[in-house]
Amino acid sequence: MKSSGLLLLCLLLAGCGATGSAPTSVQTDRPAGEFFESADYFVVVAGSGATAQNLAAKYLGDADKDWMIEDFNGSATFAAGQQVAIPKRPWNLSGVTSTGYQLVPILVYHDLAPQAKGRMVMGAKGFEEQMRYLKANGYRAITLKEYVEFVSLQRQLPKKSVLITFDDGYRSFLRHGYPVLKELGFSATLFIYTDYVAAGGNAFTWAELKKLSDEGFAIQAHSKSHGDMVRANAEGAAEYDKRLEAELVLPKALFQKNLGYAPDIIAYPYGRQDDAVVRRAKERGYVAAFTVRRQGSQSFVDPHRIHRIQIYPEMRMDDFVKSLSVFSQESIK
């Protein structure tokens, strides 16, 4: 036993001495693609042209799980002969490590138009540039469902995840948002206030929303009237109670009737909420709720006060990029 170990060491060292060839020409005695398997991992000797994608397709049965290989190994491409560890299941649900924790930037857009206008109407070209930036830099647009599972400690997300959301329900989305999102394979979420649906002009119809929903876009609640849900100073208790109830409950019936499900996630109008609003939203069956605050959201964020980052037309590309931090560095001991 012992001597064979020594012999092996000699062989290896000798192999090491004979350097000079490029990594791509590395040959192994074992067939490329030889692999080992345990309950939690595969370990694979990469063949030439191995990528996280083709390994994910082969070993995990799903090329879209490439991020697991990429994040675990810190690389998406592998040289022939290189060993690759392939986790078979999530290994870090909360995204917390000894050097910090994962953040998901959640972007909010409103209306899109050929030309930017004011603070709330984003120019189509600027929007497209931002989406292409995300794609080119390896961001993955996750679905709302995936994000909610992340804040419930039920799903690990790719390190570079981003959630893209649109508020109010402007049908300009179909012309200026939808095509580029489709092209890039990006998912998006629309938060709709129901009084606006089918209001004519730039408002979505229920049929359009149904079609988007069937295609996998998440459609969720943004109240009934887009009124501030926080109690106004002069507002009587009974009056407020009735108003809040309507904002939270009426959209449910309309969604059910037109889209076939009741919303269980809400974006507060103007991002405004207080403890009373949060409590009522929970009571009415909303499992997650979004506000607006210029910071990324960690897995252990309060699920009824999830931060979203408003993107304004006047933001330069470098401002946009600064909003995309996916990790909060902190020495955790």
Binding site: L8, G15, V26, W91, Q295, S325, V326, E330, K333
Partner: protein, 375 residues
């Protein structure tokens, strides 16, 4: 025995290092045997453990065991590490719960985060952070003439668009006029450097070759240690008595420059100061935790050991007195618990030992009497 085993283990790991270097080199993969495949994982596990990333190290050992489930080193190390993780998780959970009870939210936060770093799927820590820990770290900024929300946001976060967060945190009116002398709260924003006022607006431009570094105007770099704004900010925070901020700032710097002696010294000064302050405030357990870190890192640090023994003395006194109080109130099991705590800090404490014995005798007597009455 133990020593010789450890030496062998180190030898094996060193062997692993050699092999790993080899396997990574061009043409060096050799025959893809178990040993050649496991070696890089050993190296990885050892490096991660050395960086304090125990979870990562544990994962690396599991990968090694995927290649060879019988690998003796991987089996032993993996088991040892998992046991260590399990113990730390239990310990930090209970300290986190305790901190919540005392309403010290930032301390609770650090314990629960530590649990998640060790065990990322730990539901108790996750839910505590999500629903119970309320405070975030923040500093105060006193408005000077010429300040605007965007200039302050640029100063603290390097991002002028974060002025919204300052606006919201301080509940300011729309388009506020900032009067000099007004104090604004500046909260930490996850993902951005915190408490490191960096006045350079063109942070992205790499410093040009020959230009002399201006203190406070340069990007932090691993070479420019003395001009480092991060350490400057930490020192200023220390001077202002903002110890938590000072510690966070210096820790963050150490995260990137683990061997920087200036930073390590500064960290020691901050922890000593923190220990003294906490002791004065009678937050003895927190003081103990702070100073104990220093003693563990360097048992020969005389300032730290002497402070630790002072804190320990006070802790012992406090728990002992608390025990006496409970004893007088006839709460015997609670009194015993207090004295047991005394023994944790001072195992030779005679008073505590005697009192425990006496209380237990009394308890036993009571029980017997109750049983008789029951019959």
């Amino acid at each position: 025995m133990i020593n010789s085993r450890r030496t062998r283990m180190i030898g094996l790991i060193a062997g692993g290092l050699l092999l790993a270097g080899c396997a990574a080199g061009p043409g060096g993969s050799g025959p893809a045997t178990h040993e050649a495949l496991i070696a890089p994982q050993r190296e990885r596990a050892a490096a991660l453990a050395a960086q304090g990333n125990l979870r990562g190290a544990s994962d690396a050992w599991k990968v090694a065991l995927t290649i060879d489930p019988q690998d003796a080193v991987a089996l032993a190390e993996s088991r040892k590490l998992d046991e260590q993780i399990k113990q730390s998780v239990g310990d930090r959970l209970s300290r986190g719960r305790d901190a919540l009870k005392r309403n010290v939210h930032l301390e609770a936060r650090s314990h629960f985060l530590a649990v998640l770093a060790l065990e990322p799927g730990n539901r108790e820590a996750f839910e505590a952070l999500q629903t119970q820990v309320r405070e975030v770290r923040q500093v105060n900024h006193t408005v000077r003439a010429g300040d605007s929300l965007t200039s302050i946001a640029q100063l603290y976060y390097g991002d002028r668009t974060r002025s919204e967060v300052i606006w919201e945190t301080n509940q300011l009116p729309p388009n506020p006029k900032l009067a000099p002398g007004t104090v604004l709260r500046i909260p930490e924003i996850p993902g951005l450097p915190f408490g490191r006022p960096d006045p350079a607006p063109t942070a992205k431009t790499p410093p040009s070759g020959g230009a002399p570094a201006t203190p406070g105007k340069t990007e932090p770099s691993e070479e420019g240690l003395y001009a480092n704004p991060a350490l400057g900010a930490a020192r200023e925070a220390l001077e202002r008595g903002e110890l938590v901020l000072a510690l966070t700032t210096v820790d963050r710097f150490l995260g990137q420059n683990p061997r920087n002696s200036e930073a390590t010294d500064l960290r020691r000064t901050v922890l000593l100061q923190q220990g003294r302050t906490l002791m004065e405030q009678n937050k003895l357990l927190d003081a103990y935790t702070a100073v104990n870190q220093l003693v563990k890192a360097n048992p020969k640090d005389s300032a730290a050991t002497s402070l630790l023994s002072q804190v320990r003395g006070r802790l012992v006194q406090q728990h002992y007195n608390q025990g006496m109080q409970l004893f007088r109130e006839e709460k015997l099991p609670a009194a015993v618990a207090e004295w047991r705590t005394v023994l944790q800090y001072d195992p030779a404490h005679d008073g505590a030992k005697r009192n425990i014995d006496q209380a237990q005798r009394l308890l036993k007597g009571l029980e017997e009497r109750q049983q008789k009455q029951g019959k």
